[in-house]
């Protein structure tokens, strides 16, 4: 953490993450968003920023700022949950393939390569359209399609650890394979997994935004992507309602950039050889 703060990229990333986390966790408590609280008449629709609505109103006359706060929460939540799934699947497969090598490795890496080249977005759209628009489906779809890169990275690291002296030594002392994985392999690949995970969150948040923008978001749980979807289909752009489509976009940019900066900085600290940028 201290090292992250010392690195300029890491520091800006941490600040961005702290601000978004604050917005996502604290703000909705004090400014909850009620989707049913629609405007009274046509005059309250897509109005610009004012004293009653600091960030204007949407196509149903609802407050955009409150929606923005709730949206932060949903975007962050979906991104993190999908990342948890992706990291567990990816690291698990990577460690097993790299440790056991041989045929198991061959089969697992074949599958990984397949998912690595298959375009993720069309697959996510197809799955999302078939299994319905709810937040669990979205998390599962993104999580189960974002693991191949993690699996590849973790596998190659495990493979090189496997060649080191301590594996046969532990084995000759009577350790089981699972025990060696737990006590020797996992702790060594952990920094790599963490650095990769931070970058995966960024990707998952972008995926969620895209899926929701396509119209596959959970209509009851409005995320930043869902806001952009509704602003797009309601013609907010044509009516010049910038207060509706600018904030969620900047929100996504801000948080994704935050995770990307922290991820790269963490990578640089744990693996000095990669330290390209400074």
């Amino acid at each position: 953490m201290g090292k992250l703060w010392a690195d300029r990229m890491g520091r800006w990333g941490l600040i961005a993450l702290a601000i978004t986390t604050f917005i996502a966790v604290i703000c909705p408590i004090f400014f909850p968003f009620d989707p049913s609280k629609v405007g009274a008449d046509a005059a309250s629709i897509l109005t610009g920023p004012s004293k009653t609505h600091l960030l204007g109103s949407d196509e149903l006359g609802r407050d955009v700022l409150r929606q923005f706060f709730t949206g932060a929460r949903i975007s962050l939540f979906v991104g993190i949950m999908a990342t948890v799934i992706s990291t567990i699947v990816g690291s698990g497969l990577g460690i097993f393939a790299g440790y056991y090598m041989g045929r198991l490795d061959g089969i697992l890496m074949r599958i990984t390569d397949f998912f690595l080249v298959v375009p993720a977005l069309p697959l996510m759209i197809a799955l999302g359209a078939i299994f319905g628009q709810n937040i669990t489906v979205i998390i599962m779809v993104i999580g189960f399609l974002s693991w191949p890169r993690t699996a590849r990275i973790v596998r190659s690291q495990t493979l090189s650890l496997r060649q080191r002296q301590f594996v046969p030594r532990a084995k000759s002392l009577g350790s089981s394979n699972l025990r060696i994985i737990r006590t020797h392999i996992v702790p060594h690949v952990m920094p790599l997994i963490v650095a990769n995970t931070i970058l995966v969150v960024a990707g998952c948040i972008l995926s969620e935004a895209t899926l929701s923008f396509i119209g596959l978001g959970d209509p009851d749980r409005i995320s930043w992507g869902t806001m952009l979807h509704f602003s797009f289909v309601s013609g907010a752009i044509g009516r010049g309602a910038w207060w509706y489509f600018l904030p969620p976009g900047f929100g996504i940019l801000f948080i994704v950039l935050g995770f990307t900066l922290v991820g790269h900085s963490f990578e640089k600290i744990t693996n000095p050889r990669l330290g390209g940028s400074e």
Binding site: P119, A202, F213, I214, G215, F232, I252, L257, G276
Partner: protein
């Protein structure tokens, strides 16, 4: 050529896997597909049986699967109820439009991205390099569709001046082919720029990293020792060797490129595969969604195969070591 055969076999088995997966996804999993296709509960048994037969959903799963395969091989992708025409015609036209968009933006991305990446990489650590890296990371963090929305707002509403929707002007009469070409080109500008803005970041970053890697090689020291100028070192020795890792990374990037194109097409109503997919999701038109998903995926698999072959041609070392 054992490698070529092996790689071709992988391609075929991947396509076979995706076709099979596609079959199960759209025919087996979501409850009763007839309900989804008919979108009504009020059908008598006779009508259901009729529809079942016409969509190839009668008989055992295995016989359904083989019938599906044979239809696919014959180019029969079913009928779209929302567009009221054969799916194969729909996706055929859409694929061409998507390829046009992808070609235009890829040209910009590759040329500009590599040039900027080499520029930044050869000035590692300087202010101009840091600025390039930071702006690339910012571009990289923007959702593609949102960049498109910003451009629509800027050029369609705020400043104006460029078409923001479709591939050509509606009901336009062209006096010659050139006018038609110019109209399409004008419509192509914003979608292409949107796609390029986000994708260029990726190319800048990988080119820069690859060049920095190459610059530490021994032969670069030799080149400097020979008294070669900076420009010759960077471009003739550095750039050419840095291109191989860039090509490897680009192959994996093809699928992301397609993802970006889908978003851009939705924002700009560009009549390609992405817009088709989007409209079929909105209309819950499963035959169209299925076909556009399948065709896009197979196209990406084939493109990856081609990139792999190209890599062998460009880097003889790989061919020898295999």
């Amino acid at each position: 050529m054992p490698f070529l055969l092996r790689r071709f076999f992988t391609l075929l088995s991947s396509i076979f896997a995706i076709v099979t997966f596609n079959f199960f996804l759209f025919h087996i999993i979501p409850g009763d597909p007839i309900r989804l296709i008919a979108r009504t509960q009020r059908l008598n048994a006779e009508a259901i049986a009729k529809m079942r037969a016409s969509f190839g959903l009668d008989g055992s799963i295995l016989s359904q699967y083989f019938r599906y395969l044979s239809k696919l091989v014959h180019g029969d992708l079913g009928y779209s109820f929302s567009f009221k025409e054969n799916v194969s015609g729909l996706v055929g036209r859409a694929l061409g439009n998507t390829l046009l968009l992808l070609t235009a933006s890829t040209l910009i991305v590759v040329i500009l991205g590599i040039a900027i990446g080499v520029f930044a990489g050869s000035r590692q650590g300087k202010k101009s390099d840091t600025a390039t890296v930071i702006s690339s990371l910012i571009l990289w963090s923007m959702p593609t569709f949102w960049v498109g929305m910003l451009l629509v707002f800027t050029f369609g509403v705020w400043v104006g001046g460029l078409p923001i929707s479709g591939i050509s002007t509606a009901n336009a009469v062209y006096s010659n082919g050139f006018e038609y070409f110019m109209d399409i080109s004008r419509h192509l500008i914003l979608p292409t720029v949107t796609l390029a803005i986000v994708d260029i970041a990726f190319f800048i970053i990988i080119t820069r990293t690859a060049l920095i890697d190459v610059m530490t090689e021994d032969y670069m020291l030799t080149a400097r020792g020979k008294g070669l100028g900076r420009r010759a070192i960077v471009w003739r020795h550095g750039f050419r060797n840095a291109m191989l890792p860039v090509l490897t990374a680009s192959a994996l990037y093809i699928s992301a490129l397609v993802g970006g194109a889908i978003q851009v097409e939705v924002v700009f109503s560009w009549p390609g595969m992405g817009l088709l997919m989007y409209n079929s999701v909105l209309a819950r038109d499963y035959p169209v969604l299925e076909a556009s998903f399948l065709l896009t995926t197979v196209a990406v698999l084939v493109a990856n195969f081609a990139a792999d072959l190209l890599y062998r041609v460009l880097d003889p070392r790989v061919a020898v070591s295999k």
